[in-house]
């Protein structure tokens, strides 16, 4: 059965940003999740890429910002994570350096980001088990310490990719469900004022 109109109207749009060391697989994760594709040669992201994906079951529309990983692009990062409802910090399980960099991203978001931001830590390239250099225990302990949702993923095999994004969608704070019309007049008035302000700004 199709969802009632009132439910559709409440679809939640959430800004999601991917951060992490270059080559950790941010673009591959996004591409796997949004388009179900994987390329052996995924060119480096220059600047940022933007993709969207709707999860009809959870009534969430993700606006996904995929960023460049190199430290030199760092000055652009705040522009991308500002206002984000969620962040996925990606590292490569075969690279301890990328895990260190992930920790520095977590610190930065804790310091500068939205305090209510959902943060997930993704240990990507889990298919390369033989080359593993960051243990599950270490990452798990770090994630627990910092209140991060943690999952090991593989963009190549698609393992845990949907799970990662869906779990974030579930964790998003739900928008106020109650229709405003039934609330007190004060709120209606406030909305009216806000609308007036918007009109004024347009002119």
């Amino acid at each position: 059965m199709a969802a009632p109109v009132s439910e559709l109207a409440q679809q939640q749009t959430a800004k999601l940003v991917l951060l992490g060391e270059m080559g950790s697989g941010k673009s591959s994760l996004v591409l796997r999740y949004v388009k179900g594709q994987f390329f052996d040669y995924q060119a480096s992201t220059v600047g940022a890429a933007f993709l969207t994906k709707t999860l009809p079951d959870l009534n969430v529309k993700f606006e996904i910002w995929d960023t460049a990983g190199q430290e030199r692009y760092h000055s652009l990062a705040p522009m991308y994570y500002r206002g984000a409802a969620a962040a996925i910090i990606v590292y490569d399980i075969t690279s301890p350096d990328s895990f260190t960099r992930a920790k520095s991203w977590v610190r930065e978001l804790q310091r500068q980001g939205n305090p209510a931001m959902i943060m997930a830590l993704a240990g990507n390239k889990a298919d390369l088990e033989s080359q593993r250099a960051v243990s599950v225990e270490e990452a798990q302990a770090y994630a627990a310490e910092n209140g991060l949702y943690y999952l090991e993923t593989s963009a190549k095999t698609a393992a845990n990719v949907n799970e990662l994004f869906e779990e974030i969608a579930r964790k998003l704070p739900k928008p106020e469900a109650a229709p405003r019309q039934v609330q007190g007049g004060g709120i209606v008035l406030e909305n009216q004022q806000a609308q007036d302000r918007r009109k004024g700004a347009c002119c």
Partner: protein, 465 residues
């Protein structure tokens, strides 16, 4: 490939003053033909070094730099001493990781050949990182190296030399802080605002007015928005056009450096038009918002052409006619005298502006910055790149004309400080100015000091012996 000897005589700074005019004109004519149709693939490998002024960029050969890189301990020491911003190991690892994931867009990066192709990219990038340690490696450079390796499929040394010369033009974009690109994003907004106010206003309205969505286009010189053959044509048309625009500008720029005695008399230019160097300097210092007096020592015909009072076709006809006249003995040297470097013109911003204008319908349909970025991520592959450069030139001239008139365009306008830079550039061959003031915004304070020194009558210390 040892073609350098055949072509080096064309090098601007190596010819005798007497021949400059003829050679400049011959070069202008060939550059114009390149601008209007690009180069044949056979000629490309021979001419790119000239477009990029390879001869003016020194440095160790690829083989020596790669030899340094092979010894990690000495590479680390070298890299740190020369301004590397991270450990050599990190840089080398970044290069390896990025090279490995270059798209398999050409035959040399596909199938059995891929391993060799990737190894070549790595060598060139490793050598570049050691050549220019402050830049080292920045994501995106792997993309930019590919066209050069394609151009010289069997000559890594040449590929590196030409890539290095190209990087000399764009390196500011890749330095920590990326100031170059930030300035270009502003220029892009200014340029589009000049030529398509509706589009610019729309982008501002939907929150895309910082033009950050064009980051990749500027950063990679439209590499990912074009097929490789189109990209090569686009770049060479752009460089030819940049060079021609710089020549035009140079003819009208403050003439403070003259090699011959009284060229004005030879050309019948009224003395009142000629401003002595010190006066020009004084003017620029006391009234920084005023342009330095423009002096052209070419004939009236040339000057008329530059001021744009004629149609381009007429101007070109006039130039051709002029070119056919034999050079009279003792012809005075034109403003483009040997050794005066022109302020470079960078057209990439304007090419991007032209590319965006082509897609204005799609951009006007975008309702948010995110939509614009989404569109730009899948930018339609560029075709008619020659026409694109032509459009870019048009946009550039429009902005430049406005800037000259109003002195307020953020792009190529000559501010008071800009005038000082140009003055310092003009003096460079005669004055012993340190190398570090030759390029970049840092030069301005050094340039200012030099000019102040000249004003104070202490120019003797700068004069070349």
């Amino acid at each position: 490939m040892n073609f350098t000897q055949n072509f080096w005589p064309l090098k601007r700074n190596a010819v005798q003053p007497k021949d400059t005019r003829a050679i400049n004109k011959a070069r202008d004519a060939s550059w114009q033909s390149v601008r209007s149709k690009g180069l044949s693939p056979a000629l490309r490998a021979h001419l790119w070094p000239h477009f990029l002024d390879v001869s003016t960029h020194g440095g160790c050969p690829l083989s020596e730099l790669v030899a340094v890189a092979n010894d990690h301990v000495s590479a680390q020491a070298f890299y740190a001493a020369k301004g590397g911003t991270e450990s050599w190991q990190e840089t080398a690892s970044r290069i390896a990781r990025d090279a490995e994931r270059i798209r398999d867009e050409t035959d040399t990066l596909r199938g059995d050949q891929r391993a060799d192709g990737i190894a070549r990219v790595k060598r060139v990038l490793i050598a570049y990182a050691l050549h220019d340690c402050a830049v080292g490696y920045c994501q995106g450079m792997a993309d930019l190296a590919v066209p050069f390796l394609e151009l010289y499929p069997t000559d890594d040394e040449m590929a590196f030399t030409v890539f290095r010369a190209f990087m000399a033009r764009v390196r500011e974009n890749f330095l920590p802080g990326m100031l170059g690109i930030q300035r270009q994003l502003q220029q892009l907004g200014g340029a589009l605002g000049h030529v398509d106010i509706e589009l610019h206003r729309h982008l501002v309205k939907i929150g895309a007015g910082n033009y950050i969505f064009a980051f990749q286009m500027l950063f990679l010189h439209l590499k990912r928005e074009s097929s490789l053959p189109n990209l090569l044509t686009l770049w060479e048309c752009m460089w030819a056009c940049e060079d021609l625009l710089a020549q035009e500008q140079r003819r009208c720029e403050p003439l403070v450096c003259r090699q011959q005695t009284s060229p004005a008399a030879a050309h019948g230019v009224p003395e009142t038009l000629l401003t002595p160097p010190s006066a020009a300097v004084a003017e620029s210092i006391t009234e920084p918002q005023q342009p330095v007096a423009l002096v052209c020592v070419n004939d009236g015909q040339e000057r008329e052409g530059i001021t744009g009072s004629k149609q381009p076709s007429a101007r070109e006809a006039a130039r051709e006619e002029d070119q056919q006249q034999p050079l009279a003995a003792g012809t005075a040297v034109e403003a483009t005298v040997v050794g005066i470097p022109a302020a470079r013109v960078y057209l990439c911003v304007y090419v991007v502006a032209a590319a965006l204008r082509r897609e204005r319908k799609a951009l006007l349909a975008c309702g948010s910055m995110e939509e614009v970025l989404q569109f730009v991520n899948k930018f339609p592959s560029l075709n008619d790149v020659v026409g694109l450069v032509h459009d870019a030139e048009h946009i550039y001239k429009k902005c430049e004309g406005s800037a000259r008139g109003q002195q307020q365009c953020g792009g190529p306008a000559l501010s008071g400080l800009g005038n000082l830079c140009i003055l310092a550039n003009c003096f460079r061959p005669l004055l012993r100015l340190s190398q570090d003031m030759a390029t970049g915004p840092e030069m301005t304070s050094a340039a200012r000091m030099a000019v102040v020194d000249i004003l104070a009558g202490r120019s003797a210390q700068y004069l070349a012996q």
